[in-house]
Amino acid sequence: MTLNLAKVSNVYFEKLFAVQRNESSTNSEIKAKVLLVDKFTTPIISMCYTQSQLLQNDIILIELIENQSTLNVMKHLNCIVYIKPTRESIQSLIKELNNPHFSKYQLFLNNTISKGELERLAEADEFEVINQVTEIFQDYLILNDNLFTINVSEPIANAINPVVEESNSLVSLLLSLKKCPIIKYESNSLELKRLSSEILYNINSNSNNNLFDDLNRKSDRPPLLLLLDRKNDPITPLITPWTYQSMIHEFLGIKKNIVALTESKEQVTLNESQDKFYRESMYLNYGDLTEKFQKYVEEYKKETKQSSLENLKTQNLSELKKMLTKFPEFKKLSNNILKHLNLISEIDKEISIQNLWEIGELQQTIICELDTHQAIRQKLTEILDNPKVSTTNKIKLVLLYSIRFHNTSELQNFIGKLNNPLVTDPLPTLSQIALLKKFKTLFNSNFTTSTSGQNNSNNLGNIFQNKKININSFFNQNKSNDPKTDNIYLQYTPRLNEVLNSLLTTTQSESAIAIKSSLSTLIPDAVSSQYGNNIQNEPVQDVIIYVKGGVTFEEARLVFELSESNKKINLVIGGDNVLNSEMWMKELYDRVNDSEIPGTDPATDRRKQLREIL
């Protein structure tokens, strides 16, 4: 495993907080510490580390560096500063240095700092309080061991040049993993084109600073940074997922690994590294999940029964003692069970309210065309006539249908049904109708690779069939005991699978060639000097995937399964956001509404042209 984000966060934690326990250091040198963070690093810290972890390492205060003027002077404390090297944060730090509140400072930066800024800091540090300056590279959030998101909170969205911010974040990811990659991006996306060239520039110019030189000296194949655009796969976020983590996100929403439960009004943290049950079950489908959970509960029951207080009366004192020492563990366990029970019951509630068993099946049937066109239309009409099904779910189905079998008259028919107040409540909004009409055209151009065969429905089944066989043969080690292919709710595999397959192997199937040709390649100087120029078409081992426009947990699961089934490959996926269907629909409405205006506004046209030139 050469790409493991959990290890990254662990190593950085060590770097940040662990006391350098030299034998020579006397006791008086050990001091408690304050942690100063800025608004960018706060989520990074809070997602990776718990409060108790920090307390264990003698971090007794955490403050925002923006508030430095309000701090008390505490010379007994040392200070750890962990900031993103933005102008504001550096400015606050300079103020702090002019008037230091604490004894000694260790400065950590979560991305590269420019020489000028470093000089400014050196000038400001006239009391010589800083005794360590280290760049660690973590300008991104780690959600799972293989899933990251770029830190796109509002400050970045409002930034003057969001692409630069984005590329900086990605560069920090590359640096933290010590990878100097080939960049491949989907050439039909303008945004990706800009982003990739920005990254390339960053890598090449940074190599003057020796940051990117020699990073993959020991790996035989150069790593790959794969930039994808959500536009090219608008379907995946629309489809109702059936695995644990995805379902939590779909129905309850995970924000920075925190789920807010509506019913009990409490917040639940999900953390792969600290929650064993979650780690084992996050990728399980709903059926397996409930089974696993039952086992978990039974196990707990068994253990508690063994040492429950009533039973203890008969047992001797030493047993009692043993049990009491175990008591905190039991408490933790029961809390954990309660947490997952809440989550699962909420999910279950949502599924039954929304009629999702039926809808989910139809979604899979439509998108993978498991039935005849006729039968599918039949089923879809039935569901549209069902007043219990919510409007958004109906819209999702019609969208999927329209992308599979484009037929204007049928679509009109469906829209008519949707507008019927007898069966649909509430009625679809204008933008929803507009989306239904435009969806196909909006994404048609980006969808050619996969739809080319899918329009004539005969080929379609074949393509999917072929794909399955492909996967089978490629990962045949574990496929034999893999029940997922039989599960009707998990028929659909995201397009990412095809893309990755075409890159990881050299099988020359038609679709693989089509996908490969849709990707453009940029090679940094450091890579080409190491491997020569003829590396573009070799199969790859380490892939860092970035989905512009938002990644889904479903794709993270796919990536997890791929790398589980073949230990030779290492995959990490991320995006600027983690989508669920609700967020994606909202995004779609916005895009439809945007696309109605252009042409009339010359300013946007101009900007587009400029972008084109760029």
Binding site: M1, T2, K7, V8, V11, Y12, K15, R21, N27, S28, I30, K31, A32, S52, L55, Q56, D58, I60, L61, N72, V73, M74, K75, H76, P100, I113, L118, E119, L121, A122, E123, D125, E126, F127, E128, I130, Q132, V133, T134, E135, I136, F137, L177, K178, L211, N216, R217, K218, S219, D220, T325, T505, T506, Q530, Y531, G532, N533, N534, P539, K568
Partner: protein, 685 residues
């Protein structure tokens, strides 16, 4: 050689080394590819190496040349039928083979190395005989031939075959006859980069390019796959594959891996080394070699960059400059203070008499003197300055120019701090109060008390000068913390010290429990007690902390009002100590339990041993004899024990002079004990 000559046809087909062996080995491959078109393959690369290997042997060269094409297309069909029907045996080691391709594989794997050696030695001989000039000439000829040969062969090689071969390779599945695979993965780049070099066709080069096989293991010696848990016998079905890196033999399943390799410096003796650049050649290897590749062995590498030294260097430069400026400002301040004191006294003395006239001259002389302190050159002229030197605001009627009396720069007046409060009028007394022990002039020192209470003496200085003047005072002042915190941290630092001790000792204890032997027993026990006291102290301190800063109200702990401002700090400290205590107490107890268990086990063991020793009784010696001997032995043992204790003590007390005699004693005792024991034999304890 003579023996081989007797069976020419067979030899040729089997690729035996009577011609340039390397070339024939390759040829046999190409023959093979002709016969079984789909399973093996031929690329220009392969053909090229035919020419390569042959080149250093000038005598044979023509023969090979003529042979190469003909053997491919003519000889094979003739020999084919006979060969297929006969059972195949290797002509060198006479091992039985099933198919011809298998035999080829075998010859390549098992015998090629020797042939290569003889070949190269021959080549060396030839070269030395022929003289250097001939060799060079031949070299150039070779290159030409190579080029022509290459194009020829390219024409001849059917296009179709190439694609098939590539597909199979890319599959990354193993073949039992996969030897050919080596050449294909050589990236075109490497050949392109190196081939234009003159004389590159010489044998050292080709050796450099081809991964060495000197370290390969012979199949007959190890019939099992070298992966420990695999246990497969190596045969045609499971595959017999040498890992190119370590040379051991593996089955197909464990050699589905590829790494880039390059020959080591000493090709003959050392196995190839990993090389990830374009110089490396893709080669098959076993899974062990794959996963112990440096990058995979390390796993996820995490990067960080330490800028401390860079930062510190920069800071030092800037600090030196600042220090210089501070000294300068301080000196000027001393002079200025003197001047101001002097003029003020002067003023006071003479104000009543010659007030009007002198006032004017005094002011003039004062401003002159001020200029002199700073130096006329440093005193910025009004005309030059259009903007403030600190905030760069443009001067106008409202924003006036002012000279700083300590550096001479012109700055704006900003009494309300609207800009950066560039300059202020400072009372001398305030500064003197803070900087009372500077080396002032006699006048100032004598009148320090009066000056301290004199508020009317003021001068203007810029904010930079003020800061650098007060730097030392600030540094001093910053170090004095507040009362509340001192109290909190007094206890907390004690807690931290204990914590440090515990966290250092506990792992040691854990380690000792597992490894401990009888002698270390006492040490472990001491460690245990030590930790216990530390934990007790820690607990006491924590309760003390709680008692000092918290009051309990309705079963809830609240920070007492005096420390309300620091409540967050206090609760955090308390929490962290409680957490630490809980975690470590549990751990400590677990360790203790384990320790006890081990101790008991050991006790039991020794008891059992003793019991065992006591059981057998066969009367070899009379009972009386035995009893006597035993008594003797017991006494001796006891004495030995005593002596041992004494030795221990004296070593501990470092009384080394006694040691030698004690050791002597012990040796003697040992001897007698041994004698007694042998005499007792099975009747011993």
């Amino acid at each position: 050689m003579a023996n081989q000559h007797s069976r020419p046809t067979q030899r040729r087909n089997l690729g035996s080394p009577f011609k340039s062996p390397e070339a024939i080995a390759k040829m046999s491959k190409s023959q093979n590819s002709n016969m079984t078109t789909s399973s093996t393959l031929q690329t220009p690369d392969n053909v090229k190496s035919v020419q390569y290997e042959a080149s250093p042997t000038p005598v044979r060269h023509t023969a090979v040349k003529s042979l190469a094409p003909s053997s491919q297309y003519e000889e094979v069909p003739v020999a084919d039928p006979t060969k297929q029907t006969d059972s195949l045996t290797c002509p060198i080691c006479s091992e039985h083979m099933l198919t011809l391709s298998q035999l080829n594989q075998h010859i390549d794997d098992a015998h090629q190395e020797k042939e290569m050696e003889t070949d190269s030695s021959n080549a060396a001989n030839n070269l030395s005989n022929g003289g250097t000039s001939v060799g060079r000439l031949l070299g150039t000829n070779d290159v030409k031939r190579w080029f022509s040969g290459k194009s020829e062969n390219q024409r001849k090689t059917p296009q179709k075959r190439k694609t098939i071969s590539l597909d199979m390779l890319d599959d990354e599945r193993g073949f039992s006859f996969s030897d050919n695979g080596d050449g294909f993965r050589e990236s075109p780049v490497s050949s392109r980069v190196t081939s234009p070099l003159p004389n590159s066709g010489n044998s050292p080069y080709s050796k450099h390019k081809r991964i060495t096989r000197t370290h390969w293991k012979h199949p007959s010696t190890t019939p099992l796959c070298s992966i420990r848990d695999c246990g497969k016998t190596l045969n045609v079905k499971n595959g017999i594959v040498n890992c190119r890196k370590c040379g051991l033999l593996f089955c197909n399943e464990h050699t589905q891996y590829r790494v880039k390799l390059k020959n080591s410096e000493d090709v003959e003796k050392e196995p190839p080394v990993y090389n990830s650049t374009f110089e490396g050649t893709w080669s098959k290897c076993c899974c062990d070699c794959y996963y112990s590749k440096p990058d995979l062995a390390v796993g996820t590498q995490v990067n960080s960059r330490d800028l401390t030294s860079q930062f510190a260097k920069k800071r030092q430069e800037l600090l030196d400059d600042k220090q210089l400026a501070r000294v300068k400002v301080q000196k000027r301040f001393i002079k200025l203070a003197d001047l101001l004191a002097e003029t003020s006294f002067h003023e006071r003395n003479e104000s009543k008499t010659l007030w009007g006239a002198i006032q004017k001259t005094l002011i003039d002389s004062k401003s002159e003197a001020e200029k002199e302190i700073i130096g006329y050159d440093n005193w910025q002229s009004d005309k030059e300055a259009t903007n403030c030197t600190i905030c760069f605001v443009r001067f106008n009627i409202v924003i006036r120019r002012h000279h700083c009396r300590l550096c001479g720069n012109i700055v704006c007046d900003d009494p309300y701090g609207a800009r950066k409060s560039c300059s202020i009028v400072v009372p001398l007394s305030k500064l003197l109060e803070k900087l009372h022990n500077l080396n002032y002039s006699r006048l100032v020192k004598d009148n320090l008390k009066t000056l301290l209470h004199e508020d009317s003496i003021k001068f203007r200085c810029c904010v930079d000068c003020k800061n650098s003047l007060l730097y030392d005072w600030k540094l001093l002042h910053l170090r004095t913390p507040k009362q509340n915190e001192t109290e909190i941290f007094l206890i907390y630092n004690a807690i931290l010290a204990q914590k440090h001790q515990i966290s250092q000792l506990l792992p040691k204890y854990a380690k000792h429990i597992d490894t401990t032997s009888d002698e270390e027993e006492s040490y472990t026990n001491r460690l245990r007690i030590k930790i216990m006291t530390f934990l007790k102290d820690f607990e006491n301190l924590t309760t003390q902390f709680r008692g000092r800063f918290f009051i309990s109200e309705n079963n809830k702990l609240l920070v007492i009002d005096d420390f309300a401002a620091d409540s967050r700090l206090i609760t955090n400290i308390y929490q962290s100590s409680i957490m630490f205590l809980q975690d470590n107490l549990i751990w400590y107890k677990q360790l203790n339990d384990k320790h006890k268990e081990i101790e008991q086990q050991r006790l039991k063991q020794s008891l059992e041993e003793r019991a065992k020793e006591e059981t057998p009784e066969v009367p070899r010696l009379t009972k009386k004899q035995i009893r006597e001997l035993r008594e003797q032995l017991m006494v001796m043992n006891e004495q030995k024990f005593l002596v041992e204790n004494m030795i221990m003590e004296s070593t501990k007390a470092r009384r080394f002079e006694e040691l030698s005699s004690l050791e002597q004693n012990k040796r003697e005792l040992d001897m007698t004990i041994e004698n007694l024991e042998t005499e007792l034999g099975e009747f011993g304890f």
